[in-house]
Amino acid sequence: MIRERHLNALVLGALLALPLWGFWAEAPFMITLATRAAILALAAVGLNLALGLGGLVSLGHAAFFGVGGYAAGILALHAQSFTPMMTWPITIQGTTSMPLIWLVAVVASALAALGIGALSLRTSGVYFIMITLAFGQMLYYFAVALPAYGGEDGVSIYVRNAFPGLNTLRPLPFFAICYVLLGLALLLSWRISVSPFGLALSAARQSEARVRTVGIEPYRLRLVAFVISGAITGLAGALFADLNRFVSPAMLSWHLSGEFIVLVVLGGVGRLLGPVVGAGLFVFLEHWLGGVSDHWMIFLGAALLLVVLFARGGLIGGLTAGSRS
């Protein structure tokens, strides 16, 4: 059995090695795949904060992913067409600068998470699942009905947005950006989990009453966690928009919300690197299983069912059985 810390280093190393090999072997698609895995992992790291640490089963996280994506798509669209986003009361121009887009994406998805969270967290358990799902659907339909931004057709970003000092059009620098952001998010997620806030959140998951007795209101803890979680997933959405050079309501679909949960669980709920392992495994399955059969979703479903029924710790749990460090 492997210690989880060693496994973590191995996972992050592998995620770095694959695109480097792809670059060396002139197989740029490997880099695209690794970038996709890194971005999905980032989204799942966000979800894991709410799901793993806070015990909040959100079936609407694609909404934040989509809000982040649309922030990127809309800003880029206005910058490309040289039309201001709004002229009253102040003039706001679009932009193609990644850091600025990330900031907007994070703020916008945090606000969305604040609104949805404030309402949904009034409930718990299965209500919470259904309500996050329903609010996610509401934003989905809103995006579909947004004629100014393509509605169902979505928004195309013709040229990938820019990062100072890097050529983001090349696959490897763009991967590096995503990888570094994933690393930072993991760092943040780890810092939170060992902070007093994180410990209180974790305690609220295990026993709400116990937290109440020491004078902490679980609602506020959870809301803060939900907002941070939504913001990280929103950042991933902005990166995803740049990876595909395209945004559409499909980014907000509830299937994607379900898949995010799958990513977290495949890797192992509450494990720091669970989302990364899950995303890597998912992209691998999608790519290779898809090559085996047109009906690969059946196999994915069956595999998922087996993991849920018989391997509850996920992949990391299986590999590190008994030696959680």
Partner: protein, 378 residues
Amino acid sequence: MVRSVLGLGAVLATFVTGASAEGLKVGMITTLSGGGAGLGLDVRDGFLLAVKQSGRDDIEVVVEDDQQEPDVAVQLADRLIQSEGVDVLTGIIFSNLAMAVVPSAVNQDVFYLSPNAGPSQLAGAGCHPNYFNVAWQNDNLHEAAGAHMNEAGFSSAFILAPNYPAGQDALTGFKRFYQGELAGELYTQLGQTDYAAEIAQIRASAADSVFFFLPGGMGISFLKQYADSGVDLPLVGPGFSFDQDILGAVGEAALGARNTSQWSKDLDNDANRAFVESFQAEYGRLPSLYASQGFDTANLMISAMEKADVADMDAFREALREAGFASTRGDFEFGPNHHPIQDIYVREVVLEGDVLTNRIIGTALEDHTDAYAADCAM
């Protein structure tokens, strides 16, 4: 790693034969699962039939399923271009997927031949020398429906389409040619399955006819419910609403409906007769509009291969532009924005034996081009 074709089995799947210098590799991204799968299957089968009939062994076709998801389509395009090194991309059914894939694909020195989607952006300001549309510009069939309404003497039409860009384009295209009054104009939700509320409004209006554009399952639901509602105003729609893939699921509710299309099974020319016959022989079903478009797309590509090597992009582009192939729709040529100039016919849904199908009853527009060509600087 490559997902190969099903349908015709491994024989047709990959024509990996002697990677000669003149060989050509085609990436087909199309919808083979989900609600729109019928369209993608027909485009694929039409395309592969033409490739088979050409007898060439230097064409390799890699078929992939986009699941009607834009991000899947973008991923597949990235892989086909970066990893498989395809020369030509084709196959996309839905405009939103085309908008996601085409602009970046043609900028990576790949030809894109569209067998179905024709969004206005790609016909106008966003046109590109490497992009050829072998089907129609999205507005075309709706424009023809508007023209037909005038000719048929309808003066108070009720029009409806889903609330998404292609739906809005449809009604805009229709109104561009239609000269009568509008008895009502409705946008429905995309993916809507119950049209009782809309039909009630049609019933309450003073309309003398109904024009609708509801692709796929939406059209099936609407037609069944319309037939059952007792409202008996004449229906007019683009060919998509009444094509072979839809008619089986709609049943006799569609009988007598008029629709506009650039192709019909009974078009009288040699290429079409041979196509309809061989398609039926090969697949055991009647070809649809989409199958004819897939077939034409492959034949356009093959005609260009006979004149030029795809490695010489300028020569190959010039060969494509000449459109020197026998189209199933008779006369076919490209306008300045690489979109078709073609006749658009009016068809009527009829019963042939016990099979519902379409019959041509007139021509709506002759040598029709599109409204966006002027915006294309190429």
